[in-house]
Amino acid sequence: ETLTIATVNNGDMIRMQKLTDDFTARNPDIQLQWVTLEENVLRERVTTDIATKGGQYDVMTIGNYEVPIWAKQGWLLELNGLGDDYDVDDLLPAIRAGLSMDGKLYAAPFYGESAMIMYRTDLFEKAGLKMPEKPTWEFIGEAARKITDRNAGISGICLRGKAGWGENMAFLTAMDNSFGGRWFNEKWQPQFDQPEWKDTLQFYADLMKDAGPEGASSNGFNENLTLFQQGKCGMWIDATVAASFVSNPKDSTVADKVGYAIFPNKEGVDNHGNWLWSWNLAVPAGSQKGEAAQKFISWATSKHYTELVAEKEGWANVPPGTRTSLYKNAEYEKAAPFAAPTLAAMDAADITKPSVKPVPYTGGQFVAIPEFQGLGTTVGQLFSAVVAGQMSVDDALAQAQQVSVREMTRAGYIK
């Protein structure tokens, strides 16, 4: 039996591919075949395939954005054959909640992340700043401007600017949450005409202008990672997985000078963005190979796999953010200085209640409706144009409001 597995091309997944001998040794009758694709292409491919029931993949790597949507369509197989020793209850509750519907698990998390601030302790020290335990945006803005040293090529803060629902919109949505805003009100009316979004975007645009790096409008996670590793950013607010990269002395020039803090919030708003993301393995509903597929998923997301990675590649490289047990592991804590802040960030995230205001949707840095990919990207384009200096904040918001209304009306949310 051959399983065709669609995966994203990030480091953890690649590592898993290299370790599959362990799995095939245990399951000699199962062969694995990999389709590794860049995130956007992967999403596009698996979505087309599952929606048309193309049946090309037995195991799909999907985000916690897709899981509830697909599960609702009945496209995913319930994962009930993961084995007795799988220990579902060990999964982080926030993560697990995002992958379950009516108490049934439809995907198993391979790794998970939230977002937090990474900052340069040395620069902060130099500038005489001290990172508070719960920094506010006001503080972040001040600190960023203070640290910025254009002559030395140091930007006070690096933030995502590249257009895309999973790029700048992930960050901006989380930021808006922490500003007390939301995407939609209870009647699915878009909220870009509300002051929260205006504050968010204005603050963001000004900050990027004053303290952001060159070409910020095309920077995504990866570009910022590179900048930070090169020592060119004073702060960086992004996914928690980044911590393992910036603290890795092999690639990072600032590995020993990184401090971590929780996602900022606006003064008076008790919300830290609610960023929560996980890459998960799932099985299409019609699969003939459901049993073997679950065997594989069970292996790949098990504690055993974690130990396997730890043994072969060291504890710092194990996939983070899925199991409580990992954060209780002393060895991990020792190898990964970012373990505690990561766990704190994950615990703080609640995707069922992203905003302080009531919302009709779930999802932290995204809105878990099918239309969000398209809509988020379109809005992302507009906001990216603001960063690029091609559009004013007000225009961007007005247009964002307009396209959102249009899109939501077409999709039938707004009656």
Binding site: G164, E214, S218, Q381, Q390
Partner: protein, 290 residues
């Protein structure tokens, strides 16, 4: 070549290509037409219903629609202008006697062999990247601020990348045409007292007109469909600054999974492409018969 028998045989031999292409054209086109009148979102199959002209209205009223059409034209015309003019100049240069002509030619045609996504990746990451790109380094070396190409000049950047890919093609066709120019004709013009510029204007350029037509025709076909370069580099932005029609459809089809809308877009694009084709044939097609 003109007996009844050969004629009917000829029809028979033409049939497979025509039939295959007909199927290739009509089946998807028919399906596209059909879908274009359906409310059909891949992610929401339950909501499928008849939509009338909603999809068309929706696509047509997309805030990016008119800009996309304008961008499509800018890309096509911009790339054509660069490749045709650049191609002529380059062909003239390569036609001169020189050392290492073979290698030069190989170097010049190489971009044609690069697959579009790779070309876009190379330009985006190696050349135009505002931080690590070669152009940024050069700018810094010259004491200037690096240009953030994809943010500041998104459409121009796309045009440059696409033109880079097609310049070799144009150069090659024009070079071949140039070499087919009758030597005696050039000599006659020389005897008639024409200097280099006049020879180019009155002899070479008219001779190239047919080849230029071919370049324009073939490239237009491919240029109307440019999308991979956009997807890899600007993703259509910032704003809609680099969204062309093909990319708009792409966005509708593979980001919103709006099959109905994308189909309507496809139908609109087919219609527009055929208008362009008709226009092209009117404008330059007669050059082909000469």
């Amino acid at each position: 070549m003109a007996t009844r028998q050969t004629r009917s045989l000829a029809r028979l031999m033409l049939a497979p290509s025509v039939i295959l292409l007909l199927i290739w054209m009509i089946v998807p086109l028919a399906m596209t037409l059909w879908y274009s009148f359906q409310n059909y979102n891949l992610l929401n199959p339950a909501m499928r219903s008849f939509a009338g002209f909603d999809n068309y209205r929706y696509f047509y009223t997309d805030p990016a629609f008119f800009q996309a059409i304008a961008n499509t034209l800018i890309i096509v015309l911009g790339v054509l202008a660069i490749t045709v003019i650049g191609g002529i100049l380059l062909a003239l240069l390569l036609d001169q006697p020189m050392f290492g002509q073979g290698i030069v030619r190989i170097l010049v045609i190489s971009p044609f062999f690069v697959m579009p996504p790779v070309a876009a990746l190379i330009w985006k990451n190696m050349i135009m990247h505002p931080g690590y790109g070669v152009l940024a380094d050069v700018a810094r070396f010259l004491g200037m601020r690096p240009v953030d190409w994809f943010a500041q000049y998104p459409l121009l950047s796309i045009v440059i990348i696409v033109a880079w890919q097609w310049l070799p093609f144009a150069t090659l066709i024009l070079l071949t045409a140039l070499q087919s120019l009758d030597e005696e004709q050039k000599e006659a013009a020389e005897m008639d007292g024409a200097n280099f510029l006049n020879r180019f204007r009155y002899i070479v350029l008219p001779h190239l007109s047919r080849a230029i037509t071919v370049v324009i025709l073939i490239q237009t076909i491919f240029l109307l469909a440019v999308y991979a370069e956009i997807l890899v580099t600007t993703n259509g932005g910032p704003g809609y600054a680099s969204t062309n029609l093909a990319f708009l459809i792409y966005r509708t089809a593979l980001l919103s999974y709006d099959v109905g809308g994308a189909s309507a877009g496809g139908v609109i694009a087919v219609v527009l492409a055929n208008i362009v084709a008709l226009f092209l044939m009117r404008a330059v097609g007669k050059n082909l018969d000469r």
